[in-house]
């Protein structure tokens, strides 16, 4: 047993490939046997991943889910930003250029709305629950855009670290909700063509949420959504500490 553990520890990335393969296999069988294919195998795999992340966080007290356990450090590499972005870029190979071009403008509109709506909701909720100063409202509102925009904005306007933690938590809950509920809400959102996927990518934000949500809905829609969603964090970081902060300040003083 020790020898097996040692082998995995010395080859952490290879271990991660084997482990994720096992999770995928299990998920596809659960999807077929329990739900008769109604719930996508990828959706189940993502939920299993999140459950493992929770378990890992409880076990280690760390911030990187199961990847904080010594045996699973390879998961951190495999699912880290580098590999995630590499795989997302690769999906662009399947994009049909005409489809993407036709939806370019509506994608940009969705992107703008996807920054403004979550910000307004986050800032209003913060205000109604007692965070009435402009810095706190802006930081929490920015967190509702994405969990990267939150702390970047907070740092730029001088928010305290517990406010930043709160805004990161807001963004994380949003990302996790998008991951889990997108397949179920796909029909309601009309998510069955590239144009719709680009609108979704702009409005739902967070690359992690969009990419996982679309992967669990229809793998072929992923590149269209991701193409727009990757601009989401940049736009949020641009608007958060500037336009949105000034607007909030102008409203609440």
């Amino acid at each position: 047993m020790d020898m097996i553990e040692q082998a995995i520890r010395e080859n952490s990335l290879v271990g991660a490939f084997a482990f994720v393969g096992l999770v995928m296999w299990l998920s596809i069988h659960l999807s077929r046997r329990l739900t008769f294919g109604r719930v996508h195998g990828s959706a189940i795999a993502i939920v299993i991943g999140l459950a493992l992340a929770y378990w890992g966080g409880i076990q280690t007290g760390g911030s990187k889910g199961i990847a904080d356990l010594e045996l699973f450090t390879g998961i951190g590499l495999m699912g880290g930003a580098m590999m995630r972005d590499f795989a997302i870029v690769a999906t662009a190979f399947e994009v049909h250029v005409d489809e993407a071009r036709r939806a370019g403008l509506i994608g940009a509109v969705a992107l703008l709305l996807g920054t403004l709506i979550p910000f307004a909701v986050g800032a209003s909720v913060a205000w109604s629950l007692g965070y009435t100063d402009a810095v706190a409202m802006t930081t929490i509102g920015a967190g509702a855009v994405t969990y990267i925009v939150g702390p970047v904005t907070g740092a730029a306007i001088g928010a305290s670290s517990d406010l930043m933690a709160l805004s990161i938590a807001t963004g994380l809950i949003k990302a996790i909700m998008v991951m889990v509920f997108t397949p179920a809400a796909a029909r309601f959102m009309g998510l069955d063509n590239p144009r719709a996927a680009m609108v979704f990518g702009g409005l739902a934000g967070t690359v992690s949420g969009v990419s996982a949500g679309l992967a669990a809905t229809d793998r072929r829609l992923v590149p269209y959504g991701a193409l727009v969603a990757t601009f989401h964090t940049g736009l949020g970081c641009l608007m958060g500490p500037s336009v949105l902060f000034l607007a909030t300040k102008a409203i609440v003083g």
Partner: protein, 133 residues
């Protein structure tokens, strides 16, 4: 050679991230602005350009296709390292803001997509490298 495809992908990725960082510092934001999206567009253009000149043999395509097909497993690994504990500890402000933002955005998506034109052709349905069962 399969590595040509993977190398092409890697070069597009790096150039995209570089341009994204450059854009970020130009407009004074401490973040990468659309680097991955720029990389995706570069890869799309590279594919169109090389294919038109017959420089894209199937082995080269496989060098990109493998990584596109690895996408879902990578996303599962990503899910497994989210800070779920911190997200659940956020308290009512975080929870209500997030739920409110998601619900409102979902309605906005539904509104835009239902109002929009129906797609006339279904070509996007074909030609996925990663045909899952």
């Amino acid at each position: 050679m399969i590595i040509y495809g993977t190398a092409l992908l890697a070069v597009c990725h790096l150039v995209g991230v570089f341009v994204g960082n450059l854009l970020g510092s130009l407009i004074g934001v401490k973040a990468n602005v659309g680097g991955v999206g720029i990389a995706m567009m570069l890869l799309i253009f590279a594919r169109v350009y090389l294919r038109a000149r017959g420089l894209m043999p199937s082995a080269t395509e496989a060098g990109v296709g493998f990584w596109a097909a690895m996408y879902i497993p990578v996303v599962v690994a990503m899910a497994a390292q989210q800070n779920v504990v911190a997200a659940l500890k956020g308290g009512p402000v975080a929870l209500i803001s997030a739920v409110g933002a998601v619900l409102l955005c979902a309605c906005a998506i539904a509104l835009i997509n239902r109002a929009g034109p129906k797609p006339e052709d279904a070509a996007w349905r074909n030609g996925t490298v990663a045909e899952e069962s």
